[in-house]
């Protein structure tokens, strides 16, 4: 018998499960092999230790603690049963309800994100206000302004009475309009372009004229003026304004603010810019005082 076979029989030898013949063979090997003999002695020692290890005593509080645990568990279970009504519903009922609830949530989220405007101004608000233009409109106006500056000559050949002043409106000092915005109910603003030869003279004439018609100049910025006049005297004021112009005529137009994005409006803006010298007015009629805001642009000939 070799060492491996002998060592494989250690358990059987120790438990006395080997046949007499097998036992004899193993014992003979052990007596002739000191290494296996030492191994078996160590094996016997290990088995002796294992069997003498004994048992550990159960803690005294084992049973009372067990009862405590069981009571606690019982309490939790009964609380779940009484409180968790939904959990007790059968799955065939719960599943469709949960699915429907989920669909409802998805639709609600879609409605809130797609249907409702995300920030910005309400259309009605932009329509009523004279200054808050949509970003799209503003960008179009800026584009038009740039083009106007780039090709003034090309458009000079198409003299047409300028009617819109979206560009100027966008560039016009917003502070004045802002001031008026609260007090006046805005209507389609009017713009007047005056061609002048003597600037100082024209300005003093304009101031006098405004004063004469019980109006006031709200803001001044270079050759741009924003004046407020009573609606009743506005037509007279317009007529008198012709006298200020060196050419004896004014270019005026109603600003189509609401159509600011239209190509036509842009074209008109360009045309007016070619003339290069214009005066703009914007008028806003108030509900109470019926005052008109006029934007006037003095253009040197």
């Amino acid at each position: 018998m070799d060492c491996e076979k002998a060592r494989d029989r250690f358990s059987s030898l120790w438990e006395k499960e080997l046949t007499p013949f097998e036992e004899k063979g193993v014992k003979e090997h052990l007596s002739s092999c000191p290494e296996c003999q030492r191994e078996f002695e160590q094996f016997e020692k290990t088995m002796g230790w294992l069997h003498s290890a004994g048992e550990v005593e159960v803690p005294d509080e084992f049973l009372p603690e067990l009862y405590k645990k069981m009571e606690e568990r019982e309490r939790i279970t009964s609380a779940e049963k009484s409180g968790g009504g939904w959990f007790n519903f059968p799955l065939p009922f719960k599943l469709p309800v949960q699915a429907a609830a989920m669909v409802a949530v998805v639709f609600l989220v879609l409605y809130l994100t797609k249907m409702m405007p995300m920030g910005g101004h309400h259309p009605k608000e932009t329509g009523q206000s004279s200054s808050p233009l949509s970003v799209e409109k503003k960008s179009e106006q800026v584009l038009a302004q740039k083009e106007m500056e780039r090709e003034p000559r090309a458009l000079e050949t198409t003299p047409r009475a300028p009617r819109t002043k979206n560009v100027e409106q966008a560039e016009a000092p917003a502070s004045g309009e802002e001031k008026l915005k609260g007090a006046y109910s805005p209507g389609p603003p009017q713009e007047i372009v005056l061609k002048i030869s003597d600037r100082d003279k024209a300005i003093s004439q304009l101031r006098e004229l405004v004063k004469q018609f019980k109006g006031e100049i709200v803001t001044t910025e270079g050759n741009r003026f924003l004046a407020s006049l009573p609606a009743s005297s506005f037509s007279e004021f317009e007529k008198e304004l012709v006298g200020v112009s060196s050419t004896g005529q004014t270019d005026k137009g109603m600003t189509r603010k609401h159509a600011a994005g239209s190509l036509r409006a842009l074209q008109e803006v360009k045309e007016e810019a070619i003339e290069g010298k214009s005066r703009e007015t914007a008028k806003v009629a108030t509900d109470e005082e019926r005052r008109i805001v006029v934007r006037i642009l003095l253009v040197q000939e």
Binding site: S11, A53, F62, L63, K69, M70
Partner: protein, 196 residues
Amino acid sequence: MKTSPKIQREVIESCKAGDEKAFAEIVLHSQKKVFNIAYRMLGNLEEAKDLAQEVFISVFDSIKDLREEIRFDAWLTQITLNHCRNRWKYLKRRQYFNSDSLDDPVETEDGDVPRDICDPSDNPETLYEKKMIRQLIQRGLQKLKEDQKELLVLRDLQGFSYEEMGELLGLPEGTIKSKLHRARMDLKQVLERATH
């Protein structure tokens, strides 16, 4: 099996009917076996106590499903082993056994004591020797694989027969014997390394 005689059939039937006294009798009768298997498998007294209590809660919950009262002991051992396996996995996931070394302090009934490795058979004091052996075996068992530990605990510490083990583990006797021999040899090696 070297445990106490089998519990009476009437007690089991009373427990099935919801008799708390009968349940207490069952606990008192079997707690030592359940607690010791748990302690040997997990190597920690607190864990063993908690696990043994969980085992009896399971017994209380499911004893009504036990058909053959005569097989109560095997059924209880099976529940204990299942709980031990689950707890073993749970503790292993939490690196519970990672720091386990034969040089670590050993937990005994007297609490943690510093590891003092020496061959207990050299010690003349019997009580101390017994304690040392218990420490050594407990530590050595923790070094083995879970299935090896199960075999050693059932056969060499709890005294189950090969037939009972075959039923419990669902393995043929021959396989159990060879696996058990391998486990014993591995434990021998672990203890040899620890005592030298």
